[in-house]
Symmetry: C2
Subunit: 528 residues, 2 copies
Amino acid sequence: MRRWNGWGDDTLSVPLPAGALEWLAARAGAASPVPDASLAQALAAVPPSRLPPHRLVRTDALERLLHARGQSLPDWIALRGGRIERFPDGVARPSSEEEVRALLHYAAQTDARLIPYGGGTSVVGHVNPGAEPTLTVNLRGLNRLRRLDAESRLASFGAGAAGPEIEAALRARGFTLGHYPQSFEYSTLGGWVATRSAGQESLGYGRIEQLFAGGRLETPAGRLALPCVPASAAGPDLRALVLGSEGRLGIVTEATVRIAPLPERQTVTAVFFPAWSAGLAAAREIAQATLPLTMLRLSHPAETETTLALAGDSRGLRLLRRMIELRGLGEGRCLLLAGAAGGGPRVRRARGELLALARRHGGVRVTDAFGRRWRGTRFRAPYLRNALWEHGYALDALETALPWARVPALVEAVERALREAAATFGERLHVFTHLSHLYPTGSSVYTTYLFRVAVDPDETLARWRACKRAASEAIVAAGGTISHQHGVGLDHQPYLAAEKGELGVAALQALCRQFDPRGVMNPGKLVE
Amino acid sequence: MRRWNGWGDDTLSVPLPAGALEWLAARAGAASPVPDASLAQALAAVPPSRLPPHRLVRTDALERLLHARGQSLPDWIALRGGRIERFPDGVARPSSEEEVRALLHYAAQTDARLIPYGGGTSVVGHVNPGAEPTLTVNLRGLNRLRRLDAESRLASFGAGAAGPEIEAALRARGFTLGHYPQSFEYSTLGGWVATRSAGQESLGYGRIEQLFAGGRLETPAGRLALPCVPASAAGPDLRALVLGSEGRLGIVTEATVRIAPLPERQTVTAVFFPAWSAGLAAAREIAQATLPLTMLRLSHPAETETTLALAGDSRGLRLLRRMIELRGLGEGRCLLLAGAAGGGPRVRRARGELLALARRHGGVRVTDAFGRRWRGTRFRAPYLRNALWEHGYALDALETALPWARVPALVEAVERALREAAATFGERLHVFTHLSHLYPTGSSVYTTYLFRVAVDPDETLARWRACKRAASEAIVAAGGTISHQHGVGLDHQPYLAAEKGELGVAALQALCRQFDPRGVMNPGKLVE
């Protein structure tokens, strides 16, 4: 079962390693657990449904509670604090396009709002209902592989297919999609398309924008079919309207994706650099050398230390620490992880070129066990959020992307803005940053911060608000995008006009009116 | 000077090689020259301007004639036959964004239509005026490099910069854009963006969609500024609205592009395959192997023979023919050209992997002189259109793209449709095809056809119409895009709804209304 008020499978816990709490206490203050609201309390708060009955619509309290919120920190604060406030009035789980169309018809007749729902893993409020009567449409029933054209390397799935279902269906036929966002185990193809998702291996396989070749969108104004051609000059690419539409234009029901052969070999190489400036210069050169790598990820020194501290205290790790210190890499060191995949010779060559570039900047390669460990546990990392919360720490992350020339100043500005915001409410943050997706022209910047949960949920929410606002303003001031991979939803909406311009926002609103004249699709998200 | 009624520089002629006319006569019938209208006749047909005076607007007959048409075959028929019919009422050559805005203001006050004009190389009617009073805005005055961020590999140009200006400015700083459409010598950055241009080396450098990182659009509703970030999940990507907008939303005045270091070495390898099926299989495997190549181009047997026939009869070519025949490559052979660029080791490796794949399909590599010749003369090829017309032959090309599994049937269907159309007007076509842009999931298909010019321009136009309609219907029936690289303009508009759907066309119309409420921007192009 999914946890109703946290991340992941409720039979799986990832405890903090020994010493981690002391380490965090020295950085963000000693914390104590804050009691959570119980499931019974949360269920008791679900009000009667305002929707008339329909054969596809369930209105029981548990189903409505389970679809009330996503995975943002405000969502957690509401769920853990028992202050959920708004619930969908009903939940439908269609299993065909015809049922999706029936639900659009039902919404039109009943004046209900519709929220498309995939894995419920949004961290920016994409699936939260507004004040109006709302039907949440869970698309997990549309999860099958529908067609596979091996010659053209194209596969069509129902949009509700989750990451593991997609990879299992493709693996059986010798292919992979290669899209691994951290939410991979739960998030869905339709959700990836609607939010412009970026997987951890986007360097090799592409973001969902590059992988999404065509598909279908059911809208209040009818069906939009996006043909699947390798490229076209026939006017604006309508796929781009659907990518990032966040449920405002309609419901993605099918997506055709570009697939790749299963790689013979996959590696993750770990390299330590003596300083941030050296790591940054190397990472940029490697990204600009367009080597056949699938992933690049560079941790800032504070994140590097956090990774080492939270990795536990195994004999292997102690040896690793001693080894890199003997090589002169002490305070200020930073960690680069680089993934490669494909045939043996290609992987060897990519690693060889990578290491040659890294060495020119003082990079020291460490054992592959380090990279293997990252790869093996990457979908376990979000479980640490549960453990941290249970010890009294709230964890949030925010991200942007911008040209290389502005990356170093932005990293400093965001971390400073967060620390200054925390000072206003008398707390210390532990904050750390990595570059998660590297491009020839720039990089994403992913900053994680951790602070103590207050006893009063409203106070915890106020702390988050102060941090989020300060960091978002720093991002806007630096000309970064307000989101590289999480989307807009509710939380980033105040900053969208700075990026798109008033005219750009008006254009998006015109598109919403065109596809959804009565404004029933996921209102309040993306644009007003 | 540009030719007023044909391709290119009027001091440059590329004559047909010896024997070419006999070779063509055997395939499309013997032709005789048809006299063209003179420049004096064409100028005499320019009617008085309907526009009120403005300091930026020229209304002399020559300027208006020179901006009346593009380079489509219907444009040629009109220009050569002296049946131009519609001219812009004025031509402005702004040299700043402020002047562009002044022209938008002038159009609003005078109810004039505006046509943005770059190099005038459209082959689908993008720049042709309609019936209403029209001002053509020639953007060649906005042709400077404005900013270059070497660290982030981004360069901003005025949108009127033509290919050679862009490459010269970048070359001086050690960079290249790598965008080489056949119109490279005249077409402009803004035109590439507005028509979703694909350069011959798009395999390595990307189509303009991948190169266009941000920019500015001046619209009747105000300025749309597109920020330049490496990637974003902040809602739909507004660059995609501008890419392919064909002047309907506004005027692109500045574009920031992703640049690459100048390659140390560039090669074009030529390989002959014994049959189309072998060449096709090899080309697909090479495209799917994602080697670091910059270009792949596979000619169908009829195009291969045409290339050899029109390449002339030098001693080198005779040796080449004898060599490939000795290797058993006779009738049905087809030619693959593959470009590579970069450092020496990368180029060597790419060529090595390419040739290993090619050999598995019976490919025979020939001298690099063949590839060098293609590279050296690639922008001379369109001049052959002049020579052919002057001998009484009209030449046109059309193109699409579709998944690999449907490529072979589409090639046959388009060629058959063209031959059958020609039969209805009692002519034989010479028709030949190549795959010009290859992708892992599919390929573009580029078909060239040649027929005799009739004495009556209306009859020549009717011949073109019959051919174009038949081929376009075959493309639509096969599910190909109506244009892979030429755009929609006037000529492809009847087929756009089949591809975009009614709802998709309505969305484009909604965007036009949003940016251009009074419908003054390039009316009639792209969508009605």
